[in-house]
Amino acid sequence: MSKQLNISQLVKCYGNNDPAVQGFNLAVEEGEFIVLVGPSGCGKSTILRSIAGLETITSGSISLAGKDVTHLAPAKRDIAMVFQNYALYPHMSVYENLAYGLKNRGYNKADIEQRVQQAAAMLQITDYLPRKPKALSGGQRQRVAMGRAMVREPALFLFDEPLSNLDAKLRAHMRLEIKKLQKRLGVTSIYVTHDQVEAMTLADRIVVLNGGKVEQIGTPEEIYHNPASHFVASFMGTPAMNFLPVTALGNNVVRLPNAQELHLNNVPNNEHLLIGVRPEHIDLHGHQVKVEINLTEELGASRLIHCQVGEHPLTVATNEPITKFNAIAFNQYYWFDSKTGARLGDSQFIEEEAARA
């Protein structure tokens, strides 16, 4: 299968500072939805803007649909971009906004009319075509921005945090719309966000970035069940994974922060050992680890119980109507090196999950 987008050894430096992106590689299949996620300053936007041609890259190469586009102008790359603040042309009507890119590419009037009407119908913005952007709500502007990208039928869609200016309810709605639309059009897409929920729900594959480097590339399931590093484990998943520093005592026994000793499986031999447990992987009836309950957050369907193991916080997520307990057990856990942040041990849980399914 041919790779639609191929990025190899992309490096971008601003001035004399450390590189914002350090040797980024990515191969994207046709029709794939890739989400770049990471905290601010991780280089995700820089990568997206480099693909768009809005940034000149320091070194590396980018090819799209079998063509090297590394040094092409943005308009020549056959890409369309949806911006965070929509970037609609305020002096043009919605129709003109959609038609502008087509007009400049020499499409004839009838063709433009047909494409604009088709996109408008798909996005349900036909009624707004004669309006100026300032007469539209945030969600409508978002649709117009999508429409402007769609009419061109580009080889690649680029989304730069397109939902972060919307309120929570509309964001969830538009997230679904984007996903549906992308599946329907089958256009290869790169989506940048700092919101891990967006990343998990939208992506075919997620690229987790930190400090200009790739931490992990994988499907949402892989990222969730088999995080490659401490960073990925802490960044992906809500509520976030719990981490407790432990001391390995040999023979698969560790000492917990509350001085309790516990027998666990496959304890790696490491000096700076960190155990990671997701809040939803804790058994309230386990009677193994003593905890003190601090606070309960009621979420309706489930509840978050904030506890303490020695001096360290531990969050438990449960949908059982239990608010009082004093000892728990870890159903699943991960090992990390607290110095390097590296994952230790094998990915046994993935195999267990697979076996159970």
Partner: protein, 294 residues
Amino acid sequence: MTAQKQKLPHGITPYLFILPQLVIIAVFFFWPAAQAVHMSFMLEDPWGLASQFVGFENYALLFSDSSYGRSFIFTLVFSFLVSLISLALALLLAVKANSVLRAQKSYRVLLTWVYAVAPAVAGLGAYFIFNRQIGVLSQAFNDMGWAFNPETDPFDASFMLILVAVWKQVPVNFIFFLAGLQSIPKSLQEAAQIDCQSDSKRFFTITFPLLAPTSFFLLVINLTYAFFETFGLIDTLTQGRPAGATTTLVYKVYQDGFLGADLGSSSAQSVILMILVLVLTAIQFRFIERRVHY
């Protein structure tokens, strides 16, 4: 839902607050304007001792005076050219300065400092530069085979005035255009970069329309400048020479009233000027402003 207007109980205090401003407007605008209208209907003797009511005679005389017509046309052409050239030049400089990455501040300072030069000083400077005996620029024109002589040639004199007036006005326009350019969101320019390959086409379809409110505002400012504030330049450079060819309407008011001591005619000219400005402003705000705002 009915909008209830908030009413505050008040006595004389709010009026006292706006009184100083009202007094200033009344003393420096309404009173002289009323005086001008009054005097435009009078014929005064040169010593200001006696005056008699003559109705519209001052106006009638003006409209039959060919020098007034000439001054009228010169003012229009002069104002149009000064506004157009200084706006175009400032826009070009602002676009270029905005895209410069290194030493952007230095460019800005270099392109703005002229604003601080007083018109009379600029006129004096230009007087030396264009002087037939010692002027550098006169010399240069002569060397190029152009017998430059603003003393006798109306075209040369107008050329000189327009050049200096434009030079003096470019910085103001430059600052406003630069501010306008910088207020266009970067992402908008980038969206346009993806939608449109050609730089010049992008400028005319995106950047320029987005600058339209700024341009309109500047057009009003520039026309007013060319009409009124070029007085200092004209007075130091040509005094309306040769033979009244560079006399603007404002300069003629001064010449006829203060030098010619014909206060009636001068007042009538002021009144016409006032009406002209009113009409111009009304047209601009009524018809143009509606189109430029997005």
